[in-house]
Every structure is written in structure tokens, then in C-alpha cells.
Subunit: 187 residues, 2 copies
DNA sequence: TGTACATCAGTGAACGCGCGTTCACTGATGTAC
DNA sequence: TGTACATCAGTGAACGCGCGTTCACTGATGTAC
């Protein structure tokens, strides 16, 4: 039994992590397996020891987001967390720092054109994000509806801001989204 | 001077139209020049009589959206038009009918990874869409801010709805977006 | 403890398909006479 | 009016690059004795 039993899973995790970063930055098609493996410190051929094909890697990458901890912070009320999350999500840093980009706004097109598994992982991610906002409303009858609206407005603003070449328009869209999202949270 | 002077421009327009439809449906990378030309009733080679390369076609396709009439309808007040547009944008038909899909939610990733020209055309399209909503507010000081929020929420809901595999979640997101967008329009 | 061995993660050259792009050619059309 | 001609939009075979994928091999590691 050469190599410890944790060796291969750790290598795999490194590949997935590299893929997640590159995919969110440049999209599924424009990232080559060669690049992913190089970023993980490996060479091309070894890829197929871990994944059947590139699609399976994509699925694993999206899935790894969905499994990531939903930014739960101790010592904060759900409402505080929700407000903080809106700010965090719409921040300059989120827009610029590619490896931190959320696949909800970085990868929708790639996911929508892909197979069932990434779509399912992506759907989970939508649900988790909405749940953060829903938790901020104690017992409002329209909690779900409001949480949905907040997710849409945050994702929409980031999609548009990351696509426009006009930084001021992008900033303005994000400011507006922040105002309205917080307004919805205050109810 | 063989062929009438309008012959070539009309052929070009047919190619752009085919490209627009295919790109919004399947994205820039997955559509081949061969397919575009076939859909326009032509063959591969002729493409380069009209465009320098595939990037130029993409730019022309995005641009042709930006130039499209912004759904101005006579006999309707700006406010009525804005409300109708929210409903139209978030409708089942818009989500399903690929050739009618708006590039704002169908192509953001492709545009953000492309060159300057498509980004600029896309930015124009954001502006035009926001202008429809801004026109619905007579003289509110926060008209621009509200219009921006409405665009973000509509685009965000459609991005998410077109990516999830859960039709009910998608419908729910679009309903929520509709409620809040109309609320913002009523003020 | 040290050595031989078996395993299998990783290597990198090679393959082959797909697609963007090129290019020599065709043939439809308007003009000249 | 009819014929020869010039133009150039469109054709389709061919090219070549890039990238996903394969495969025979290497060499690092843990185990057996």
C-alpha cells in the first residue's frame, strides 16, 4: 500500500481547488486541463487518475462551492450576518478578487449549458444563499419571498458589474443593490 | 457592379441574426462558425467576406441587441411600459424561448471574458434597459437608484432561473423579483 | 535493521478530433457595346 | 435586344493549431521477510 491513504484525496482536493479558481476566473471552456494540473503542481496525464473527464472536474468544482460553509459566524445574530453578507457580496473585493468570486454570478452560463450534476450543485448553492437571508427574518410570512428577492438583486448587480466596462456604472449598480437589499432586510 | 448594393449588407444582417440567436442559446465558445453560416443559409468559407474573425461576429451580435429598439410602444405611458416590461422580462416565455433571450442574462460571462467592443455594447444595453425604468419616475430624486435596482433584480432572477434545474425555485425567484420590481416602480 | 518487492500516483510523448481560418475556384449578376 | 465581359459573393476542400484523452513507462512509498 504505497503512499498514505490520504495522499490521493489530498491531491484530488488540490486539483479541484485549482479548477474552482480558474473556472470562476475564465470559465469552463477557456481553462485547459493542462493549466489546472499545472496550478495544482502536477502534469497533464495524471488528471485521469482522479477524474473521468473534464465535465466531472467541473461538477466537482461547482459542488465544492455548494459544500463550503455558508459563512456562518458565531457571536452574530442571523440578521447581523445577513447584513454583513450583503456588504461582503457586493464589495469591490468580491468583484475584483477572482478566486473569491461566487459561482452564482461567475459561472451561471457555464452551468446552464452543462449537465445535470453541476446544475444540481448550483441549485443547492442558491438555496444556501437564500437561507442566510431567510434566517434573518424571524417569522414574517413573506420571509422566503424577501430572501429570494435579495439573492436576485445581489447576483444581478454582480453579474452586470462584472460585465460592464464602466466602473462607475458597476459601482452605482452595486450601491443601489445594497440599498434595496438592506431595505428588504429591515422590512 | 454585380449584385445590388444592398445584397451584401442583407446577407451580413442574416449572419448576425443567426449568430445572435445561437450565441444567446449556447454561448460564444460552443457555437461554430459553420453552424452560424448554415443557419443563415450559407457555407463556411463565405464568412470571411463579412467578418475578420469570430470575435468580430460576437461583437456585431451583441451590438445588434444594443441597437434594437428599446421596446418603446406608442399609446402607453412610461410607467405602464415599465410595468409591462417587468412582466415581459420575467415571463415563462422569456426564459424558455431561446432566440428571444436577452443577452443581459444569457451572455454576461461570454462578454466579460471578451474584448472591449462587446463590453461596450453590453454596457449600452444596461443603460438602455435602466432608462426604460428611469422614465417611469417623473421627478424622484432616487429615480436612477431605483431603476438600477430594478434592472439588477430582473437580471439576477433570470440568471438564476435559467441556471437552476428546479423549475419551482426558478418560478419562485421570478415571482419574488416581479413583486419587488413592481413595488419599486410604485414607490 | 536492511533489502527486495509490489503498488500505483504521477509523467510526458503521442494521438486524433474539432474548429477557426485560408485559398483557389465557381457562378450569379449587372454593365458595356 | 442580345452577347461578352468583369466583378465579387459564395463554395468547399484543405490546413494547422490546440486541447482532451490515452498509454507505456517511471519512481516514490509502504510492506514483507
Amino acid at each position: 500500500m504505497p503512499y498514505s491513504p490520504t495522499h490521493k484525496p489530498r491531491t484530488r482536493a488540490r486539483i479541484v481547488s485549482a479548477a474552482r479558481e480558474l473556472f470562476t476566473l475564465r470559465g469552463f471552456e477557456r481553462v485547459t486541463i493542462n493549466e489546472v494540473m499545472a496550478q495544482a503542481g502536477l502534469t497533464r496525464g495524471g488528471f485521469y487518475n482522479h477524474f473521468r473527464d473534464k465535465d466531472e472536474l467541473f461538477c466537482a468544482a461547482v459542488d465544492s462551492y455548494a459544500r463550503a460553509t455558508p459563512w456562518a459566524e458565531p457571536g452574530r445574530t442571523p440578521h447581523e450576518l445577513a447584513c454583513w453578507f450583503v456588504d461582503f457580496y457586493l464589495s469591490d473585493g468580491m468583484l475584483r478578487r477572482p478566486c473569491q468570486q461566487c459561482p452564482l454570478f461567475a459561472l451561471p452560463a457555464d452551468v446552464s449549458r452543462s449537465g445535470a450534476a453541476p446544475k444540481s450543485a448550483y441549485t443547492q448553492l442558491i438555496r444556501r444563499t437564500a437561507a442566510i437571508f431567510r434566517a434573518a427574518f424571524s417569522a414574517r410570512p413573506d420571509a422566503t419571498e424577501r430572501a429570494n428577492a435579495i439573492v436576485s438583486i445581489c447576483v444581478g448587480a454582480m453579474v452586470l458589474a462584472s460585465t460592464t466596462d464602466d466602473a462607475e456604472l458597476g459601482a452605482s449598480l452595486r450601491r443601489s443593490a445594497r440599498t434595496r437589499a438592506l431595505e428588504l432586510l429591515e422590512g
